[in-house]
């Protein structure tokens, strides 16, 4: 009898069966493709200097310019497509820092326990409690607006939540019998964490990564909107900042304002859907309850029967 909570196959099968999981994944894939193939999708290069006439300024959508033009005559559609690259770059890079820090702290803290756990969790809570946007804002305002620094600052101050979630999962797993057995036959601590615990924590890590990426993308957009983005790059946040500060609202230039915000919402929504789907697989208590219609419970139970609960019951 297996005691492991997830096998790769049943996890994958459940994920494919989740409507929101599939929708979210497709939404993300579309944006990633857009970012990768930006030069082929966008009709213009938004980084190229252009000569524009007064008619080009904030011109509404028309032939040649699918989403109109911005305040210096650039093609909004092209900017939005290229903006995906910067927003995703910041999202992935910053979430990598978060997940490395969060995983290390969470695994060590949860597995080792004791004083080290207390110390690490105090530090985690300390970072968690400091308001992150104001913190990033003062650091970047003082230290400069490079993309590298923005990624570092977002990554270094947003990991505590991930660490907490992973620690909780490690604690719920480390006392299980398959871990105990591995210990009994003399597997090293490192081996136990890497071979026996880490694979069982993976779904939670994936759920965290998706939320981390969306947090990082929104953080970059928020900073750029406040004028603290990298001035040499076009991101969705910096587009909204320029549209807002250069009079798109009073001119009613919705074609300039709406697309970057819509794509930001699109990406974060996709990421949230993926994370939701994973969490429902990991925590089956989110799927049914005692005020449910009995017939519904029965039909759900039929579907759930093959998948043991992660909430213990040992």
């Amino acid at each position: 009898m297996t005691e492991k909570i997830y096998s790769k196959r049943s996890f994958f099968r459940q994920y494919i069966g989740s409507k929101q999981g599939v929708i979210g994944a497709v939404m993300l894939l579309l944006v990633i493709m857009t970012a990768l193939f930006a030069p082929w999708i966008a009709p213009y290069d938004p980084y190229e200097p252009i000569s524009a006439t007064t008619e080009d300024v904030l011109a509404p959508p028309g032939p040649g310019h699918l989403l109109g033009q911005d305040e210096i005559g650039r093609d909004v559609f092209s900017s939005v497509v290229f903006g995906a690259r910067i927003s995703l770059l910041v999202g992935f890079a910053a979430s990598l820092i978060m997940i490395l820090l969060g995983c290390t702290v969470g695994l060590v803290s949860g597995y080792v326990g004791g004083r080290l756990d207390i110390l690490l969790m105090r530090i985690t809570d300390g970072v968690l409690v400091i308001p992150s946007l104001p913190l990033m804002l003062v650091i970047i305002a003082v230290a400069g607006r490079g993309i590298g620094l923005i990624i570092m600052v977002i990554g270094l101050f947003s990991w505590p939540y991930t660490a907490r979630v992973i620690r909780a999962q490690v604690i719920s797993i480390k006392e299980r019998q398959f871990v105990m057995r591995a210990k009994a036959i003399g597997v090293s601590h490192f081996g136990i964490v890497m071979v026996h615990i880490l694979p069982q924590v993976l779904p939670v890590i994936f759920a965290s990564i998706t939320l981390d990426i969306s947090a990082a993308i929104l953080a970059e957009a928020g900073l750029s909107f406040l004028g603290l983005g990298d001035p040499t790059l076009i991101s969705w946040g910096s587009m909204i900042n320029q549209a807002f500060s250069r009079g798109a609202v009073s001119r009613g230039a919705w074609w300039y304002l709406v697309p970057p915000g819509f794509l930001l919402a699109w990406v974060t929504l996709g990421l949230n859907l993926v994370s939701n789907a994973i969490q429902e697989i990991v925590n089956p208590r989110l799927r049914t309850h005692n005020l449910f219609d009995e017939r519904k419970i029965l039909s759900l139970l039929g579907r759930l029967r093959n998948y043991p609960s992660s909430q213990g019951g040992e």
């Binding site: 804002l137 957009a221 406040l226 004028g227 909204i240 915000g261 919402a265 974060t268 208590r285 005020l291």
Partner: protein, 336 residues
């Protein structure tokens, strides 16, 4: 006994966090490239003012501790003639320095901005919590039904929208119907206080709705999930077996237990709400702390930025400590 010990431990821990924030806040604004006097004092200031700042902040003294001075003079008290100790002393007096751009103390500038921010946060939080909790509970009760799916989608979308963008869109949509910015209509004298408040209220509608929408999504999803977890407890089944109606069960058992995590989350999210407020205040020219910080960034008014950040950080740390206390008083299961 254990409880008191626990509270003291938490207090100590929060105190340490506070000290780290103060040290960080001091250090960050001293590592800026360039002369510290140039950093702290604007070149536009009169020489006398610059001299005053130099003296007040001890900018000719070393950063942390004055070892050289102590060795030279042989007095231990000289050890504490450093920039950091001066900073702490000024802080204790409530002196946050002088603004670069406006010839006013930072504390005074910040003080004038607290009221609007508190008003905005309270209104936004109240609306967000009210709708989030209500819809979250209904959504969990009718889980997997039409209402649930719809509210979950609405909640997820609200949660995914960047707040500043949402604000701009609302601003565009409401153009002509509601004031587009500011705190009061300029150049109007009010016959009564009520009229004054009504005018503020009218200006508050858009920024508060934006903040409420930003928070609503998160609260809805959290309450839904925690209610679902509560509803799958055995005592809910018992209550149902006793013949209580679904409404009674939701009201008496589920709401209480499901709203417990909300207390922590509201406090934890205060930092998030304040971050959102910076963007929202910027959009609607709402004269709060966030707008002040935004203006300070543009003008490189570092003392204002430093002071405002310190105030925000201290408020959030204190709110979390209070939430921790409330939680451990309300939930008898909390030991650590």
């Amino acid at each position: 006994m254990d409880k008191i010990e626990n509270i003291i431990r938490k207090f100590g821990f929060n105190l340490v966090t506070l000290v780290v924030v103060i040290v960080f806040n001091f250090y960050l604004f001293r590592i800026v490239p360039g002369d510290p006097v140039a950093m702290m004092a604007s070149p536009r200031m009169k020489p006398e003012t610059r001299e005053l700042i130099r003296e007040q902040f001890g900018l000719d003294k070393p950063l942390w501790l004055n070892f050289e001075g102590m060795r030279a003079e042989g007095e231990i008290s000289t050890l504490f003639e450093s920039q950091f100790v001066y900073y702490l002393k000024n802080l204790a007096k409530g002196d946050l320095g002088q603004s670069f751009r406006q010839n006013k103390p930072v504390a005074e500038l910040i003080g004038a901005r607290i009221g609007p921010t508190v008003l905005l946060i309270l209104t936004g939080e109240f609306i967000g919590i009210l709708f989030g909790t209500l819809l979250g509970i209904i959504s969990a009760w009718k889980a997997r039904g039409m209402i649930d799916v719809t509210t979950q989608i609405v909640g997820l979308i609200a949660y995914s929208l960047p707040s500043f963008w949402l604000g701009i869109i609302l601003l565009m949509l409401a153009r002509g119907y509601l004031p587009s910015g500011g705190y009061v209509t300029l150049g109007v004298t009010y016959a009564t206080t009520i009229e004054h408040w009504l005018d503020i209220g009218k200006h508050l509608v858009l920024p508060a709705s934006t903040l409420a929408l930003l928070l609503f999504g998160a609260y809805l999803l959290i309450v839904r999930n925690s209610t679902l977890e509560v509803l799958s407890e055995d005592y809910i089944l018992t209550a149902k077996a006793k013949g209580l109606s679904s409404f009674q069960i939701l009201w008496k058992h589920a709401l209480k237990n499901a709203s417990l995590p909300l207390i922590t989350i509201i406090a934890m999210d205060l930092g998030y709400a304040l971050g959102g407020a910076i963007q929202i205040e910027t959009i609607f020219s709402w004269p709060g702390l966030g707008r002040l910080m935004f203006e300070a960034i543009g003008q490189r008014d570092y003392p204002v930025l430093q002071g405002a950040f310190l105030l925000l950080a201290v408020s959030v740390i204190m709110a979390n400590f209070l939430a921790d206390l409330t939680y451990s008083l309300l939930d008898p299961r909390v030991e650590d």
